[in-house]
Symmetry: C2
Subunit: 325 residues, 2 copies
């Protein structure tokens, strides 16, 4: 059994916990929280809940620590720190700072003979693996990534910060006609606006100026101004009833030629009822790979590009050859 | 530059040759043929053509030999034999004999300190990788593989062996409604007949009994009897005009749950203008991985389950982190 710790128990931590239950070679040992452990009820009876300050008591009792903090302020500190005493894995997703994060984690993991894996999930994660493999197989071609239909928590938060807004949910929606052009191997040039639209459900305070709020959303730099955005004002009841899930998904597509006029299209797609539960499932599979590399004394920081399928699988290579090849 | 040899110059050998031209770190050195080399014109001016009996002259001049023979009688002999003197890669696809082939190749490759890779292509190959990764991420679920629409050369050959048939082309076609059920996460139980249909274009000799030929096709054991089969009789001209390509493709889909009622669907699909050119492209990418493992003294027989994405990519891990993650 691979003994797992969960560090941080929000949506992602609960997703990791659900994934562990589906894997027979995995066991949740402990959940670490910044809250008072007495206030936290988890879904695994056999695991304990502890405050983060007591984490070092588990130094030799946990094979892999799955760190479920946020990419902006939590992971840049937590992952290198915990790598001093644990094998660690995180879902760091700030593309602009990945190389820097890698260096920090690599330094600590190598110094203490641990194995670390960063940026694991579906994008970055499974989508990155697919982009890499597709481009290796079809070097002469174009790659496209579409996201959605799914909830963007960052965009939902941005709307909630507008004065007069009580609650909001934002869906990123791929433009179907653009997706079809890509699938047909047309290699289109697509602007930001041509790839995705943004669909917003907004609850406002009594008497709020809806026209002003709609304008504030549609003209918001970085988040909305470059997209065709639809704003729907709804009641809190409707939002709670129809928009509380965290579905997501998307598509990675590459089309390329192998000789004059001979085209091929490779597509990888995800349709996810729950973004955090799927991300948690990817983290758990790569935690297995992390532990295998550690057992092989392959220390330092790794990414999804470093793992062979057999490393993340619980099945022996002999059985993979017989049943999966 | 990685120096490549092609052993066998049929459709697949030409597909490998086309793929090498698309990869800047690869160089075709020599093509080996059972024919008289003087009778063979290849598409690479800088490479030589030699008879297979002279292959040992190239013992230290080729980094990886890509073996393009057939799975039934060629590869079981060629791959272990060539592994005594070369790093080798093949597309062996007889599922029932993979473990046996693996053992033979592994023995020779380990004894001579070479790296070998077997069963590389799209199925087995990319589809196998995806089945393995999908099942590792969503252990509680069901996997489905659909093939087509595409030409099955084995089924086309089987029709051509019927008396009175001059030429034939058989397409395997996935049943769209079954595909949709799987995509919707319905986890259907599907019989062979419910997954694929078979579409045949047949050219007959003058005066041949079409009704008897159609019956012979539709009742043929193993090949057609378990499928809904459509037989169209056409002229040789029409077959040559519309059915001489070798398109193929297919779908690997897994749907699974991460907690009660929370479903996810992962799909990997290929749409290929040319089966041999795409298979050749996969072989060339994994030839790069084969050579990297050899340089790391990782000898013996490998399969697609053993390669990390960074091993088959020409791009450095640093650049993958920056641009592909």
């Amino acid at each position: 059994m691979i003994k797992i710790g969960i560090y941080g128990y929000g949506n992602l931590g609960r997703g990791v916990e659900a994934a562990i239950k589906k894997n027979k070679d995995m066991e949740l040992v402990a959940v670490f929280t910044r809250r008072d452990p007495k206030d936290l009820v988890i879904n695994t009876k056999t695991a304990g809940v502890y405050n983060v300050k007591d984490v070092l008591n588990f130094k030799d009792k946990i094979d892999v620590m799955i760190i479920c903090g946020g990419s902006r302020t939590d992971l840049p500190v937590q992952t290198p720190n915990l790598a001093k005493n644990f094998n660690v894995i995180d879902s760091f997703d700030t593309h602009a700072h990945v190389s820097e994060h890698f260096e920090h984690v690599d330094l600590e993991a190598k110094a203490s003979n641990h194995t670390a894996v960063i940026s694991v999930g579906w994008d970055p994660g499974m989508f990155s693996i697919n982009r890499c493999m597709m481009e290796s197989i079809l070097p002469d071609g174009s790659s496209y990534t579409f996201w959605g239909k799914g909830v963007s928590q960052g965009h939902s938060d941005a709307i909630r910060r507008i004065p007069g807004v009580k609650d909001a949910r934002q869906y990123t929606v791929p433009v179907q006609s653009a997706l079809e052009k890509v699938r047909n191997g047309e290699n289109p040039y697509l602007t930001t606006r041509e790839k995705h639209t943004r669909l917003c459900y907004v609850v406002v305070e009594d008497g709020a100026d809806k026209a002003r709020i709609e304008n504030d959303i549609k003209t918001m730099p970085d988040y909305f101004v470059d997209y065709d955005t639809t704003v729907n004002f709804i009641s809190q009841e409707e939002l709670d009833k129809n928009h509380k899930g965290l579905p997501h998904g998307g598509f990675v597509i590459r089309s390329g030629e192998t000789s004059e006029g001979v085209k091929h299209v490779i597509e990888y797609s995800l349709k996810l009822d729950s973004n955090p539960e799927f991300t948690g499932s990817v983290l758990v599979a790569f935690a297995r790979g992390c532990y295998k590399k550690f057992m092989n004394k392959d220390y330092g920081c790794k990414t999804v590009f470093d793992f062979a399928p057999s490393e993340i699988s619980p099945i022996s290579v002999q059985d993979l050859l017989k049943h999966t090849l």
